[in-house]
């Protein structure tokens, strides 16, 4: 499947009295690295949960090419999910499975290949990500950086057309953060996938992104290439880039 164009239109979501998304509208460019940035608590992860179908919007639309998520038939939604990979903030690895079983899980679960071939592919991916021989290890024995890489391997194992990263460098030291950023760039170049990164890491955003969208007060206040984004006159953007508190 070619990387789809994703369009989010007028997305609204409230939790009780708190209106988190107040009509989010933006476009995710296919085959590019798209960053969605914003301060903590602005609803970036909520947008991501809507994009991956984990949350239902109060109103609004999310289009993957010609497929609207809220109206999609479960079969189409399932087909779309097989084209998605998501790296959760804390990895969300299955504690009951070994590292290799975690990575191979989507392959054997959907019976795409034999267990043996799935394990071989998992080992190959782990090797590429610097975790050769880690297959039999227990998830609890992994360091934070290793967990991220295993989770990335699991997200990549189905060769997805769309890859989502939820704050991939949160909790990592600068060295590991740099490595993960490098991996994101490398993976996108190799696969040609559409990559969506939720982040508040300004340096990574300006280095890696093909397109940057910023969420503020429940709305997208800018969506542009990084070189245009960083000179945007919007005071909230400039304050964010300068690391100053919001007004």
């Amino acid at each position: 499947m070619a990387a789809p164009t994703i369009v989010v239109y007028n997305l609204k979501k409230s939790f009780g009295d708190q209106e988190v998304l107040k009509g989010i509208t933006f476009k995710i460019l296919p085959g590019c690295i798209n960053f969605l940035i914003g301060r903590s608590g602005e609803g970036k992860s909520v947008v991501l949960k809507h994009l991956t179908g984990l949350m239902r919007a109060d109103s609004g639309e999310i289009w993957f090419d010609n497929l609207e998520l809220s109206a999609a038939h479960p079969r189409d939604l399932q087909a779309l999910r097989l084209q998605m990979g998501l790296l959760f903030q804390d990895g969300a690895l299955f504690d009951s499975l070994s590292v290799g079983e975690n990575v191979a899980f989507p392959l054997w679960f959907h019976r795409i290949t034999t267990v043996k071939k799935a394990q071989a592919k998992a080992e190959q991916l782990l090797e590429e990500l610097g975790l050769a021989g880690a297959g039999p290890r227990k998830v609890v024995s992994l360091s934070t950086g290793e967990r991220k890489r295993v989770a990335l391997a699991r997200a990549l194992v189905m060769e997805p057309a769309i890859l989502f990263f939820d704050e991939p460098t949160t909790g990592l030291d600068p060295l590991l953060s740099g490595q993960v950023d490098e991996l994101i760039g490398h993976v996108q170049k190799r696969s040609g996938a559409t990559v969506v990164v939720i982040s508040h890491d300004i340096a990574a955003t300006l280095t890696l992104a093909d397109q940057v969208s910023m969420i503020y007060d429940g709305q997208i206040i800018a969506s542009a290439p990084p070189q245009v984004f960083k000179v945007d006159p919007n005071p909230e953007i400039q304050k964010f880039l300068a690391g100053e508190p919001a007004s």
Binding site: D90, D95, P106
Partner: protein
């Protein structure tokens, strides 16, 4: 505007009723969906067998202990009472009837709820708070089919088997105590054959299958809808055990009224 105590009470009762109806509805839908998904292919037998091992094989020791001591202590009490009326010959049938109809199914279910129902709630709730259930969904794996259906199936299949073991060792425990108390062993056993009917055993096993469904479905429900981090995990586990205990005891009363 502040409410007077009567209004506060009505508001509290109304909120409680609404919440109870909401949870009951959501629990029923989740249980029904789990059962339907359990019979729709593809079947993941390895996962079901793994759960059967956790629910059944790993609970065997505690169930044997419970059964044997329940039968033994019940026999002690019955001997004490029946001796007053020179009715020692009825000790065997009384113990066997009580074990097969009530004590076997109910105590086995309560023990397994404490051991397995709580573990199901804890495991699923910790998966929920660490986003593992979301990860399953994003990977296109239905978490209800993958996590809940095998557990409920395992509960329904393994509880009758465990209950059969508890019934047998309970009667054995009673038999040993009866002999120790000087009762005629032959009379203990032969009167069981005369009085206890196979329907007592079947109905007890049917009850235990229902209890197996209750303990697994309640444990899974509490775990699956956990909210609020580590505190939520603890709360779900406690609620799972308490709610399953109550549901089993209420269910036992209703089924006993219908069956016997």
């Amino acid at each position: 505007m502040s409410l007077n105590p009567a209004s506060k009470l009505v508001a509290f009762l109304g909120k409680t009723v609404l919440e109870s109806v909401f949870h009951l509805g959501r629990y029923s839908l989740l249980s029904l969906r789990s059962l339907i998904l359990a019979i729709i292919p593809p079947w993941r037998l390895r996962t079901v067998f793994r759960q059967m091992e956790l629910v059944g094989v790993n609970s065997l020791f505690v169930v044997i202990l419970t059964g044997i001591f329940t039968g033994a202590v019940f026999t002690l009490q019955v001997i004490y009472g029946f001796r007053r009326f020179s009715a020692e010959s009825m000790v065997g049938p009384t113990v066997a009837t009580a074990m097969t109809r009530e004590l076997g199914p109910v105590l086995t279910s309560l023990m397994v709820t404490g051991r397995v129902g709580s573990a199901m709630a804890a495991e699923l709730s910790s998966m929920k708070v660490s986003e593992q259930i979301d990860a399953l969904t994003v990977m296109g794996a239905d978490p209800v089919k993958y996590l809940i259906s095998p557990r409920i199936l395992a509960g329904i299949v393994m509880l009758p088997l465990l209950t059969a073991v508890a019934d047998a060792v309970g009667v054995l425990g009673g038999y040993l105590v009866a002999i120790g108390k000087g009762l005629d062993p032959g009379q203990f056993a032969s009167r069981i054959e005369d009085i206890v009917v196979i329907g007592d055993v079947y109905n007890g096993l049917i009850k235990s299958a229902v209890f197996g469904f209750i303990l697994a479905s309640v444990g899974c429900y509490m775990g699956f809808y956990t909210r609020g981090g580590a505190e939520g995990v603890g709360r779900s586990t406690t609620h799972a055990v308490v709610c399953a205990y109550v549901a089993i005891l209420v269910g036992d009363f209703i089924m006993t009224a219908i069956m016997f």
